[in-house]
Subunit: 148 residues, 4 copies
C-alpha cells in the first residue's frame, strides 16, 4: 500500500551566517538540514508539535537514503523557500516509510538552487527496529493533503 499527494508544504527563512562556508555559499550538507527543518515544520503544521509526537512516543525517523542536486548557490541573507512534497507513504507488513522530495527556491536570486529526495523509515527509538504508526497520524497527513 502506498499513498501520494500532489500538495506541497512550504517554509521561508533567511540564510544564517553560520550556514555558509569559506566559499561564501551555504555548505552543501546544510541543504539536508533545511530539508529536515521543512519536515519538522510540516509535522508541526498538522498538529504533531514538530517531531515531538515522534520523540515522546519513542519513534525515530532515521534516513535510509538521501540525495541532493545543487543548481545555484545560496548566500548569507538570501531568503529561501523550502518546498516539501510527500511523494509516498510506504507500508509493508513490518514497517512504514516516508518518501519526501524537496525543492529549495532562492527568493533573492529567483533561482531554484537545489532539489533533493529523502526516504525515512519509522523505528522504535530504543530497539532501532522497524515500527508501524497509528492510523490517526496517517489520517492527519491525509486530511492535510485534501485541504484546499
Amino acid at each position: 500500500m502506498s499513498r501520494s499527494t500532489q500538495k506541497t508544504f512550504k517554509i521561508r527563512f533567511f540564510v544564517d551566517f553560520v550556514d555558509a562556508d569559506p566559499g561564501g555559499v551555504v555548505h552543501f550538507s546544510n541543504y539536508f538540514r533545511f530539508f529536515e527543518r521543512a519536515e519538522q515544520e510540516f509535522y508541526r503544521s498538522i498538529g504533531l508539535g514538530g517531531f515531538s509526537w515522534f520523540i515522546q512516543n519513542n519513534y525515530g525517523l532515521p534516513r535510509v537514503k538521501v540525495s541532493c542536486t545543487y543548481k545555484s548557490p545560496l548566500r548569507v541573507d538570501d531568503e529561501i523557500e523550502v518546498e516539501l512534497k510527500i511523494e509516498k507513504i510506504g507500508r509493508t507488513s513490518i514497517h512504514y516509510s516516508f518518501h519526501y522530495s524537496f525543492t529549495i527556491h532562492n527568493l533573492t536570486t529567483q533561482k531554484i538552487c537545489g532539489t533533493g529526495e529523502v526516504t525515512v523509515v519509522l523505528v522504535d527509538l530504543k530497539k532501532w527496529q522497524p515500527l508501524g504508526i497509528p492510523d490517526t497520524i496517517i489520517k492527519k497527513i491525509e486530511t492535510w493533503s485534501k485541504r484546499v
Copy 2:
C-alpha cells in the same frame, strides 16, 4: 565615546531537531549561534540586509570575548525568544566595537534558559585590521534605539 540603549530587539523561532544533542537538549554551542541569528536579524531590521552590508563592504565582525550562562534546558520543538540588547557601541581612535547582551526565553516552559554577552570589533575582512564604520550605520542604530 560610547553609546548604549535600553531598547531590546527580539526574534522567535522553534528549536530544530539537529540543534539538540544526544542528551536531548540544545547543544551549548548553539546558544551562541542563536545569539548571532538575533544579531543578523537586528541588522536586517534596520535596513542593512542582515550581515550583507558588512560583507559587501569588506567588514568582518569577529568576536573578541563571549560568555553564556545556562539556566534551564531547551528541547527540540521548544519555541524560543532571543532578546538582544546593544549594551555599548565603543569607539576609540582606531576601532569600533559592539557589546551585546542576550537573553534566551523558553516560551514553551516559560523559563529563562540562558543569558550571554558578546563583544565584537569591526575589522577589514581582508587585512583583519581594526576599522571604523560610517556614521550612517551608527545613525541607523541610534534611530532604531529611539523608535517607540
Copy 3:
C-alpha cells in the same frame, strides 16, 4: 577524457558528541561532513595542504550532486573509518569534475554504516564559473594512485 583509480584513501576518527542528535545517533547530514573531511585529508596527503591550495588559488569545489545510503547507526565515541575512492576525474572542454565514492565503516560495531557518492566541479571562486586545473595537480593525484 576520464581517469579512475581502484586505490582508496582512508581516515579514522572517533564520533564527537556534538555530531549526534537526540536519537543518539550521528545526524544524517554529518555523513557528508565526514566525506568532506576524508576529501580534505586526501588533498593534504598528496601535498596540497588540504583544501588550502584550492582556496589560495581561487578555486572552489562546489558539489553538483551528492547521495548517501544509511545502513547502520553511528553512535557517540564509535571509531569510524571513512574510505574515499576517486571514481572519475572528468574533463570537458570547459571544466573539470571529480566523482568520489565513500564508504563509512563503524570499527566499533564492525558494520558498514553508510555509502555515498559526491560529484564536484572546479569553479573560479569569485565568478563561480567552471575552470580547468593545472596538470601538476592532476599528476599529483595520478602519482598517488600508482603508489603501492
Copy 4:
C-alpha cells in the same frame, strides 16, 4: 572539597573546511566544540571510552557557564592543539562539578588563538537533577593527574 591539577591534556587536529565561515575563519561557536572534543578525548584517554561511560550510566554533563576570548584567527587547514586543564573538581553535598580551562594554539601560525573556561555539573540525564559520581571515576582522574 575541591581538587585541582597542574597537568594538561592535549589533542591535535586540522581545521575542517565546514568549521570556517564566510569570513574565512573558524566560526566562534566552534571553539566550544573544539573544547568539548578535547574533553571527550580526555575521558577516552583515562579509560572511560570518551563520554560513553557517562551516557551508559545515565549521566549528563550540562554546561553551567562558558566563556571564550579570541586572540587570533584560525583558518581552514591550520593545525591546532587544544590544551585542557582541570582547574577544579567541585563537590558539595548534592552535586559534582568540573571546571575546565582551555587554550587553543594555532600550530600553523605559532599563535595562541583562544582561551576559554567551561563549568559543567553532573546530572541524572532523565531527571536533569544534580548527581554524585562514583569515587572510581574521580580516582581515574587523580591517577591521570599524577602520571608523569
